[in-house]
């Protein structure tokens, strides 16, 4: 009996906090979204209104391309780092992972320093070819920003898996005459797959909700989180902002669910 009461005592703060600041507010958000002038149709505005739909398409494409690019470079880097000992390895690893703590706004600023009007690439290209190459405020700049904050997280996840991979398996495949491509396809990638899935899902969800980077770059490209912000603050349209947020959350969740079922299917097939 004392143990039951103790369990209750342990979970009570968590229960109160979650109820008051997560469950009730999310319910309130759903009510707000459904009580606009369009009623429940507001939920579908993200698909029916051209401005919202275009923003959703750009955001989805950006998130997918970011996820694929991040997984590719992170998997290559993780295999390069795993099982290799060399001086400065710890330092290199810190360099690759410390942007983890940067908020999106700082990442945006890094891209401005890299490819903005006074940026590094621009000044190098100016002295070499006489033209100032500026890409920070374009879709490409936004993509680089997303890559910047995604790589560290995904790399850590995949590196942990790559270090557990038995090098003898790769060695065996190689001595049997498998090409590097075949080794990747048949030995390495299947072993890294769970970590790649986890990392990719996190990367995709973060990219869908990212706001700070687009905010700092102040591009003309409206990613959906930017749209939520402008709807709420500039148009003071809380109903629409709430409806888009919920739609964005659900679409993110749905894409992840599809990816998960495909992943399960592939894993079974292999």
């Amino acid at each position: 009996m004392a143990s039951r009461r103790f369990d209750l005592f342990l979970i009570l703060p968590l229960a109160i906090f979650t109820l008051a600041f997560l469950i009730l507010p999310l319910a309130r958000l759903a009510v707000e979204a459904g009580s606009g002038p369009q009623g429940l149709a507001g939920f579908f505005a993200i698909l029916t209104e051209a401005r919202f739909r275009n923003s959703l398409i750009v955001t989805l494409a950006l998130a997918i391309v970011t996820t694929v690019a991040t997984l590719t470079v992170a998997t290559i880097a993780a295999q390069t780092l795993a099982g290799r000992q060399f001086p400065g390895r710890g330092l290199l690893l810190s360099m690759l992972t410390f942007p983890l703590a940067f908020p999106g706004v700082v990442v945006g600023f890094m891209i401005i320093l890299f490819g903005g009007r006074l940026g590094l690439v621009g000044s190098v290209s100016k002295s070499l070819f006489g033209t100032n190459v500026v890409f920070a405020y374009s879709l490409f700049g936004l993509f680089l920003g997303y890559l910047y904050f995604s790589v560290p997280r995904v790399l850590l996840t995949i590196l942990a898996a790559a270090e557990k991979l038995d090098p003898a398996l790769v060695e065996a495949a190689r001595s049997l005459g498998a090409s590097p491509f075949a080794i990747q396809r048949d030995v390495v990638l299947p072993a890294l797959f769970p970590a790649m899935y986890t990392g990719g899902a996190l990367c995709f969800a973060t990219a869908m909700g990212a706001f700070g980077t687009a905010f700092t770059l102040a591009t003309t490209i409206d990613v959906t989180p930017m749209l939520i912000y402008t709807e709420f603050t500039l148009s003071t349209n809380a109903n629409m902002a709430a409806a888009i947020s919920i739609a964005l959350g659900l679409i993110t969740w749905a894409v992840l669910a599809i990816a998960r079922s495909r992943a399960m299917h592939d894993a079974k097939g292999a």
Binding site: F6, I11, P25, A101, A242
Partner: protein, 263 residues
């Protein structure tokens, strides 16, 4: 063939490291130069850092206060909560964990909007720093709980608990004297993660802050939009000085636990 692939791997890894580090070095350099556009020849100065301190010192202190309050609350809520979930297990515990982890997947803006719509009417609370703290706790709690639960999964806490129980120790005493010391690595790693995330949090804070409750990243966004490049860079240096020690701490702990599990 083998050499070709590993050479490409090394090249890509090196490029990646440069891509991540060079802009950071540029911002440190830009924050210390007299004039960024004129380059090295203009010389170096701490004047921009001084100006940043004059303009934005309050955001630095507020971020520290918010981070510490967030840490206290995640400890008080998350650690007992994690123990409760581990003790009970089963479908209910998994469902609770799913719900608590929701803020990782839900866009920060949506959470902030939900909180503002629900508590915007409570003027004093809405305008206090505590409102921002609530947002940060919501966002960081899953990380604290996961970190603690991960340690619970590697130790045989049930045997430890039963051992102490057979010696007549009451359940709450066992929690304090036996369980807590054993999950300390998880608590420390979780605490560092929480503080790091809180200091860098922008998505929620940008929506939730008032002119009186600006945190460091909010100030940074302000500086990036309206200040000259040198001041924006100097402010970024201040941010780096705050987070780099935390990151080194996190990595040291990760290294220590790795060594301990290996030996």
């Amino acid at each position: 063939m083998r050499q070709w692939t590993s050479f490409a791997g090394i090249a890509i890894t090196a490029l990646l490291a440069l891509f991540l580090v060079v802009p950071v070095l540029l911002s440190v350099y830009a924050g210390l130069t007299v004039n960024y556009a004129r380059g090295f020849s203009a010389g170096f100065t701490l004047e921009w850092v001084r100006q940043v301190w004059e303009l934005y010192a309050d955001t630095v202190w507020r971020s520290l206060v918010v981070a510490l309050l967030t840490l206290m609350l995640t400890l008080l809520i998350g650690v007992p909560g994690a123990y409760a979930l581990v003790r009970n297990g089963g479908r209910f515990a998994r469902a609770v964990e799913e719900i608590v982890t929701l803020p990782v997947a839900v866009p920060g803006l949506a959470l902030a909007l939900a909180l503002i719509l629900s508590y915007g009417g409570f003027g004093a609370f809405r305008q206090s720093t505590l409102f921002v703290v609530v947002g940060h706790v919501l966002f960081t709690l899953p990380f604290m709980m996961r970190s603690v639960i991960a340690v619970f999964d590697t130790i045989d806490w049930r045997t430890l608990d039963e051992g102490a129980a057979s010696l007549g120790s009451p359940v709450w005493r066992r929690f304090i004297d036996v369980i807590l010391p054993n999950v300390r690595p998880g608590i420390v790693a979780g605490a560092l993660t929480v503080v790091t995330l809180s200091i860098g949090e922008f998505n929620l804070t940008w929506m939730m802050h008032t002119p009186m409750t600006k945190t460091l990243p909010v100030g940074l966004a302000d500086a990036y939009a309206s200040m000259r490049l040198e001041i924006a860079s100097a402010y970024t240096i201040v941010f780096l000085i705050m987070v780099i020690p935390l990151l080194i701490g996190l990595q040291t702990i990760a290294g220590l636990t790795e060594k301990r599990t290996k030996s």
